[in-house]
């Protein structure tokens, strides 16, 4: 099976590892990492002064980061709800673009 080549259910080398479940866990891990990295980058752009006169986060930056992360989570949740309500058929539409 798969993108990352981990055995399949019949692969001799994967022993008693349930590959479907592993794969889903890995996809979830990738998703969480991707979102974490985007929050780091986005909130850095929003909150950090790029003059770099000192190496510590000042009070304003610290508070801004806390709010930025909370707001990003809320925004992420709202968009997720929206996509579920419209049936998330965008994935299918995207795939269709390749004429597969």
């Amino acid at each position: 099976m798969s993108m990352f080549g981990i055995g399949g259910s019949s692969s001799p080398s994967s022993g008693n590892i349930n590959s479907e479940r592993m794969e889903m866990a890995m996809q979830e891990l990738d998703m969480v990492t991707d979102i974490f990295n985007r929050i780091v980058s986005t909130c850095h752009n929003k909150c950090i002064n790029t003059r770099y006169a000192e190496g510590d986060l000042n009070k304003g930056e610290s508070v801004c980061i806390d709010r930025c992360v909370a707001k990003f989570f809320e925004a992420n949740k709202k968009v997720g709800e929206r996509l579920q309500s419209v049936g998330a058929n965008a994935g299918a539409a995207g795939g269709g673009a390749f004429g597969l």
């Binding site: 099976m1 798969s2 985007r38 996509l83 994935g91």
Partner: protein, 89 residues
């Protein structure tokens, strides 16, 4: 793309690979949408709660992004088909 030269095992394998890939691409599209809309819509960090104005902006941005992607997808498929036809002449 044309997989008609593939045998049955290959077609089955390819279909699974593509399914995985579409899931990954969808997740990446989703998080890039959130990042892009958040960057455009949220600029006030005096509060940690999303204001109603920011929420409305996020919803419009998400809707528009999906419609944009769909439209790009449709044009992309047409252009791809044209390019393939041109190659076969």
């Amino acid at each position: 793309m044309d997989f008609s030269g593939f045998n049955a095992a290959e077609q089955t394998h390819m279909a699974r690979v593509i399914e995985k890939k579409q899931m990954q691409d969808f997740m990446r599209m989703y998080s890039s949408l959130v990042e892009r809309c958040f960057t455009s819509c949220c600029n006030d960090f005096t509060s940690k709660a999303l204001s109603s104005k920011e929420e409305q902006c996020m919803m419009n941005c998400a809707d528009k992004f999906l419609k944009h992607s769909e439209r790009v997808g449709a044009r992309f498929a047409e252009q791809n088909a044209e390019a393939m036809n041109a190659m076969q002449k």
